[in-house]
């Protein structure tokens, strides 16, 4: 016999089950359906069927394609495809080949396929460019007249002429850059004539010497997964140093008074050199890296011939330069730079190392720590704690701050590097992104070694230190 209470309970529970089932079905049919459909449409992959170009009259598709990283056949989500298109638009804009670049897409031949459309407006002729910059060797420099003929015949070549003037450098150069050997190598060539002012320190006394030089430089850099890590350089140059050294405080050293370290380098010389290098770059962002590594090991062997006496000598140089970036908590970045260099004692002073300056060891004047005759052994570290001062667009934000510690030493031929020879500086700085100029750098550095009785040195430069 069935218990009536239990029978009533089963009817109610059966009705509740039916109601719950209907409710679930209703929810499944309506709102959850949208959620499922929406998330599927965002994550289901599209196949890139092809890339179409519009507006390219002289530039062949192969020239545009070699700069792009959109590959037909790749499978991407709609979000990834949008990012890919926008990134490739930036890449093409940076080639300077086009006045404008726009990216679109269209449905492919069947559902799930998509075609990327790149619409370009080509440059009709050459264009003028104004350039400038700063480095420790040349100081501030400007290029008031730079004429560029990029992609003038549609082959993707870049060449131009530029006239550079700076507080320590004047240079006229003609340059060329293109990919060769089925895009396996990037060829860079520069033909130039220049005059540079080198700074010497004789104790506390600062002096300068003008060196005229010119010649041809050629560099071959690999492309592709393996090739991008290697480069080969060749140069044939002529050096003509002035045979007097002028002191800033007045007076000069004539050839007879010049220290023997420099004397050999005062004669006109021809120089031929071959350099080779290993490169690695795994930075997540070249402008403001949060994580990653950049490193280069460069070696050079050279032959120098003094024109008047036909006396020849050989010298070599090895440089190691590495930068490591690690994101700490939040938006803080720890960055460290290590540079070490070794040159043989036969190297002329203008091929040796220097120390001191905004891009070197901050807290000291440009090249202030460089020994007489310049250094053949160098060690430099820059350690920075970077933090944003503005949040918008991070890591492409407007302003950031930095607290840094620099340390390094430099030694002349015959000197043995010792730990106690190292110089140091502590400091803080601000980087602010300006329109047109890019990142301006302002650093206050406090030297830890007593040189010239300076307690603080202010550096202004462009870009990050490393």
């Amino acid at each position: 016999m069935t218990n009536p209470r239990s029978s009533l309970f089963s009817i109610i529970s059966w009705q509740l089950t039916c109601f719950a089932g209907l409710l679930s079905l209703t929810l499944l049919l309506f709102s959850p359906h949208f959620v499922v459909a929406q998330s599927q449409s965002l994550t289901r992959k599209l196949t890139i069927e092809g890339v179409e170009f519009v507006g390219n009259k002289k530039t062949g598709p192969e020239v545009i394609l070699r700069d792009l990283n959109i590959r037909p056949g790749a499978r991407v989500t709609p979000e990834e495809f949008a990012e890919l298109l926008l990134r490739n638009r930036q890449i093409l804009e940076q080639t300077n080949f086009f006045k404008s670049v726009e990216v679109f897409s269209r449905p492919g031949s069947e559902r799930g396929k998509v075609v990327a459309i790149i619409e370009v407006q080509e440059r009709a002729g050459p264009f003028f460019q104004f350039e400038g910059g700063y480095n420790d060797l040349s100081g501030w420099f400007f290029i008031p007249a730079s004429l560029r003929f990029d992609n003038i015949f549609g082959g993707g070549n870049r060449f131009g002429a530029r006239f550079l003037i700076g507080d320590r450098l004047t240079k006229l150069s003609f340059w060329y850059r293109n990919k060769i050997l089925h895009d396996k190598l990037i060829l860079d060539a520069e033909l130039f004539a220049a005059g540079k002012m080198f700074i010497h320190y004789f104790g506390p006394q600062k002096a300068h010497q003008d060196v005229g030089f010119g010649g041809l430089r050629v560099k071959l850099t690999g492309t592709g997964r393996v090739g991008q890590h290697f480069f080969l350089g060749l140069r044939a140059e002529n050096y003509d140093p002035r045979d007097t050294i002028d002191f800033d405080s007045g007076g000069m050293l004539a050839q007879g008074d010049v220290p023997p370290d420099i004397l050999d380098d005062l004669q006109e010389a021809e120089l031929q050199a071959v350099s080779f290098g290993l490169l690695h770059d795994s930075r997540d962002n070249p402008v403001y890296p949060l994580n990653g590594f950049w490193g280069a090991l460069t070696g050079e062997v050279a032959r120098k011939e003094i024109r008047e006496t036909n006396r020849t000598s050989r010298f070599g140089k090895l440089t190691f330069d590495a930068r490591l970036y690690r994101r700490l908590f939040g938006r803080q970045v720890f960055a460290v730079h290590v540079k070490a260099g070794y040159g043989t004692s036969d190297s002329p002073f203008y091929e040796r190392f220097y120390l001191g300056g905004a891009n070197s060891l901050r807290g000291y004047a440009d090249r202030r720590l460089t020994p007489q005759g310049w250094g053949t052994k160098l060690f430099l570290t820059n350690t920075e704690w970077r933090f944003p001062l503005s949040d918008k667009g991070f890591p492409n934000h407007k302003a950031s701050g930095v607290i840094f510690f620099d340390s390094g030493g430099i030694w002349a031929p015959g000197e043995t590097p010792r730990f106690k020879d190292l110089y140091g500086a502590l400091g803080l700085g601000v980087r602010y992104k300006m329109p047109i100029l890019g990142t301006m750098r302002f650093d206050f550095a406090f030297p830890l070694n007593d040189i010239d009785d300076e307690t603080v040195r202010f550096h202004i430069s462009l870009g990050q230190t490393f």
Binding site: A37, Q38, S41, A82, N96, I117, G132, Y134, N135, G463
Partner: protein, 223 residues
């Protein structure tokens, strides 16, 4: 004669640098704001508007391939003393689900699904009684007017949507590009420099001009 020739040459050189910056890229019909109608709805000042030429063929084709486009509308309520009383930014995304074959028009709180593009276009190209501010917050009997601008970003990523200032500062991206990869040097393309300085007068293909409504009083508004 030679002076005239020199002057002519100078004008030609200057024009050759400026002309590309002044040229209207694409040459399509410009986005326009039409029929802006303010009225009172539930004791709020509300506005309706229609946008013409928002969807060019390229944008339609991009949406149909499965990518999202974002419409951004900037609305300002200003008094006749040029003072901004209220500012509202509306973001809408239009996307096409190629698997389900339907369009989604999404705003901050709603998503509408339609199967015909014309319907999606109609939803994306109009504002219906968009509430701006309660009339209680408006004290005084002076006049005010509405200033409005609309733009469409043909390809948008979720990241780009979060930093959605492109409508008010369309050259922002170019600035970033100009400064990118310059660790210790800078270079300025003179064409881009000219564009930079005259950019306040130049508008993109995808952004309308500011629309300014005639000045009106609250008491004039239909209910």
């Amino acid at each position: 004669m030679r002076r005239v020739a020199n002057r002519l040459l100078f004008v030609l050189v200057v024009f050759s640098q400026i002309k590309p910056a002044l040229a209207f890229p694409g040459g399509g019909e410009k986005i326009r704001i039409e029929h802006v109608t303010p009225r009172l709805v539930n004791r709020h000042i509300a506005v309706s508007a229609e946008f013409a030429n928002l969807f060019s063929d390229k944008i339609v084709s991009t949406i149909r391939s499965g990518l999202r486009s974002v419409i951004q509308i900037e609305i300002q309520l200003r008094s006749d003393l040029q003072k901004e009383l209220f500012h509202k930014r509306i973001l809408r995304t239009i996307s096409y689900d190629i698997w389900e074959q339907r369009y989604a028009v999404s705003s901050a709180d709603t998503t509408l699904f339609v199967t015909a593009f014309d319907e999606a276009k109609r939803l994306g190209s109009r504002l219906d009684d968009e509430s701006l501010m309660p009339i209680e917050e408006w004290n005084g009997s002076g006049k005010f007017f509405i200033r409005m601008k609309v733009g469409i970003n043909p390809i948008s990523t979720r990241q780009a949507e979060r930093a959605s200032d492109w409508l008010l500062d369309p050259n922002q991206e170019q600035e970033y590009l100009a400064s990118e990869n310059r660790s210790s040097t800078f270079e300025v393309n003179l064409n881009r420099l000219v564009s930079f300085f005259i950019s306040s007068r130049k508008q993109s293909d995808y952004i309308s001009d500011w629309f300014v409504s005639p000045a009106f009083r609250i008491s004039d508004l239909p209910k």
